[in-house]
């Protein structure tokens, strides 16, 4: 069963895992040298992934290894399996590469942090889980990796756990994604139940056999076909949680409490695309059901638009990027729903580069300014040359600046997919592209140049210890080098789009001149509008806010999602927990107090016997002995 690919395939997730174990136990003793070891191993893993990406044969996936994992019964058993195909190889290369960049960057960013070793340990574990997720060949293996990714995100978002807001953000991310994971496990249970009934328990979780079982011309499993919609919906719910799509998107903006390299790794390039990857992996299920595809498209398009509007009125550098992430993942989901896995994966790839770049550059700005409040950061372009240029490249790519940047090509592919199928989706996505260009260049015009300082509210999230008298300066080369590499890739990746159809199969959609012109128009239009408002000041931003107070407040409060959840789900949970607390206090606690009081009372009565006089004890023993002898004789002679 094991193919020669098993060794390199296992090696890729195992290298970071071993480093995690080393770092978590000995990370305190020699953090720097072990982190260098970890980075070197990751570089090796990246090399292997790159080699696999270039050399794996086209066509159907290769199951590299599958081993029996645990048995319930002769018939009911579970397998651990890894496999590789074009999709997995592409994804693995992206994950390892971005993770490598983040590792290098962290040497500079976390330089003086006392938990340097722990940070690298979690980075390694996270990378390992994500790679296992990418290579898993059945749903159960994937679920384990999926949970590992969620756990690591909790560790890393709450990395500054001494800060209450960071601890709360970690919990929020964990619980929200866990809600989605319920969908995953329920889908697995439904599949297993069907498998038990149709004698296919062993293979129903395996992607390849599930694919053949679900194939349209295969009529052998009507039960599975009946349930495929529900299973698909549940799996999509899990993807929604992990990929921060509406309605489970609320955790991702808060997750910006984590260190910037973490945001780059988890919340831009890898973890959040795990949901997209799941849908792409199960595309045989989602693609053939028009209702599922429509739901995915709707969720994707709506999320893309909603997140983009919230980003317009956000004042935290990283939160703007977080909302842009949600928005861009909306694009990827929409592309999947529209039936183009290639366009989606193309966007995943280019987005990984430029979003990692943007987050790392934002981290570099934070390093210099000790603030993420965009009303306070000024003249980045003057103080930080490399950071500002690379950030601008990332912003251009995200905005989809025509023909130069990678983002343009991938976004155009997504838009084309929409244009062919649903014109309404196309127009919403195109408008979102315009909004994206606008809010990114709002950031740039506000922070890079000498825009007059506005009044800043006292308490703002990204603003910890802003030091007014501090002269910002460019970050160290460990931090700028990954920025430059990623900036180059953000431009160059677009020209390698042709590799994807070769590796994944299918074709990159091209919608023709209309799509091209519309996307160019919206991208340039958004940039120009941002320039007009925030640089040339033809239209005053403040005046716009005053003219539309309701909309401004609506956006500033993030569509009130947090408030809505608090009023509904939050209130329900608080009511339930209140009831449970009452039960605990008045029934469970009282029961235990009762037992406690009983034993105290019993002890008090028994202590009367202990007079402390040895002679009385002796007398008791003698009398007891006499009684025993007496009783013995009675039983003996009666």
């Amino acid at each position: 069963m094991n193919s020669p690919l098993a060794v390199p395939l296992l090696l890729i997730p195992l290298l970071p895992l071993v480093n995690f174990i080393i770092l978590i136990f000995w990370g305190k003793a020699a953090p720097r040298s072990l982190a260098i070891l970890s980075t070197a191993c990751l570089a090796a893993a990246t090399g292997i992934a790159g080699y696999l990406f270039l050399t794996i044969p086209d066509g159907p996936p290769t199951t590299a290894m599958s081993a029996d994992w645990f048995f319930v019964d002769k018939q009911f058993f579970f397998q651990f399996g890894i496999m590789i195909d074009g999709l997995a190889a592409t994804m693995a290369l992206i994950v390892t590469f971005v993770s490598l960049m983040v590792h290098i960057y962290s040497f500079g960013y976390m330089e003086k942090h006392e938990h340097f070793g722990r940070f690298f340990a979690f980075l390694a574990l996270f990378t390992s889980s994500m790679l296992l997720l990418v290579f898993s060949s059945n749903l159960l293996t994937m679920f384990v990796a999926w949970e590992g990714v969620g756990l690591c995100s909790y560790f890393l978002i709450g990395f500054y756990f001494e800060k209450p807001s960071a601890a709360a953000a970690g919990k929020k991310a964990f619980i929200t994604t866990k809600l989605g994971d319920l969908g995953f496990i329920t889908a697995i249970l439904i599949l297993l139940t069907i498998g038990a009934q149709t004698q296919t328990f062993a293979q129903i979780l395996d992607f390849e056999s599930l694919k053949t079982m679900l194939a349209p011309r295969n009529a052998a499993y009507p039960l599975l076909k009946d349930w495929s919609f529900i299973v698909g919906l549940l799996l999509f719910f899990a993807a929604i949680g992990k990929s921060a799509q509406f309605p489970l998107h609320v955790w991702l903006p808060d997750a910006m409490e984590g260190p910037s390299p973490v945001s780059a790794l988890i919340h831009a390039a890898t973890m959040v695309v795990a949901g997209v990857y799941l849908v792409a992996r199960m595309f045989f299920l989602f693609g053939q059901d028009p209702n599922l595809a429509l739901i995915i498209t709707l969720v994707g398009v709506f999320t893309a638009f909603m997140a983009a509007t919230i980003a317009l009125k956000s004042y935290d550098l990283k939160r703007v990027l977080a909302y842009s992430t949600i928005s861009q993942i909306g694009y990827m989901m929409a592309a999947l729903g529209l039936g183009s896995a290639v366009a989606s994966m193309f966007h995943v790839g280019t987005h990984a580069f430029f979003k990692a770049l943007l987050f790392l550059a934002a981290g570099s700005i934070f390093h210099a300014y000790h603030s993420l409040e965009i009303r306070r950061i000024r003249r980045v372009a003057k103080f930080m040359r490399t950071t500002s240029i690379t950030f601008a490249v990332g912003a251009l790519a995200l905005a989809g600046f025509p023909y130069i940047t990678a983002g343009f090509f991938s976004k155009e592919a997504v838009l084309s997919a929409a244009y062919e199928k649903f014109p309404w989706a196309f127009w919403v996505l195109a408008l979102t592209a315009g909004l994206t260009a606008f809010y990114m260049f709002r950031l740039i015009f506000l922070t890079f140049f000498n825009y007059p300082v506005q009044s800043v509210p006292k308490r703002s999230s990204g603003d910890d210890n802003a030091d007014e008298n501090h002269e910002p300066h460019e970050s160290s080369s460990a931090m700028t080098m990954p920025l430059v590499i990623l900036a180059i890739l953000s431009v160059a990746a677009g020209y390698f789009g042709w590799l994807l159809p070769v590796r994944i199969g299918g074709e990159i959609p091209h919608g023709g001149t209309n799509v091209l012109l519309t996307s160019i128009a919206f991208a340039i239009g958004g940039i120009l509008l941002a320039w007009a408002i925030y640089s040339a000041r033809i239209v005053k931003a403040e005046a716009m806010v005053e003219n539309m107070p309701t909309i401004a407040r609506f956006l500033e409060n993030k569509w009130y999602w947090d408030e809505i959840y608090d009023a509904t789900v939050g209130r329900l949970f608080r009511a339930v927990t209140w009831l449970v607390a009452q039960f605990d206090w008045y029934i469970v606690d009282d029961l235990y107090h009762l037992f406690g009081r009983l034993s105290v009372r019993a002890g008090m009565s028994f202590r009367q016997m202990h007079s402390g006089s040895v002679q009385i004890y002796l007398l008791t023993i003698a009398i007891a002995l006499l009684i025993l002898i007496f009783m013995y004789n009675i039983t003996r002679f009666s």
Binding site: G612, Q615, L618, L619
Partner: protein
């Protein structure tokens, strides 16, 4: 039935004496306030048992040699000496700790 070594009446009298001594020993141990008195009571109980050994050695038909019981009694006397030494050492420790040979003074076992 093997041959009897003596009359049952004599045996009974001797056993009653021995039991009385044992009872007096218990009485002394339980009632004496003085720890040395208690030790004497213990010695008394020990010697009543010793007496029993000699008596049964003399009167039992199953024991071939009457000397056997007396040899045991000698051993136990040696043992009693050792036991008395330990007991006196304990009493000495008790006096050092509580400043009195009165058994009631050592009341720390009281719950």
């Amino acid at each position: 039935m093997s041959r009897a070594r003596g009359s049952n009446v004599v045996l009974s009298v001797l056993l009653i004496v021995s039991t009385l001594i044992f009872g007096l020993g218990i009485l002394a141990v339980v009632t004496r306030r003085n720890a040395i008195g208690m030790l004497l009571g213990i010695e008394l109980m020990l010697n009543s048992v010793n007496l029993n050994l000699v008596i049964f050695g003399r009167f039992s038909e199953r024991i071939a040699d009457p000397l056997e019981g007396q040899v045991y009694a000698l051993f136990i006397m040696a043992l009693a000496v050792a036991e008395a030494a330990v007991g006196l050492a304990l009493i000495l420790a008790l006096v050092r700790k509580f400043g009195s040979v009165d058994a009631d003074a050592a009341g720390t076992l009281k719950g």
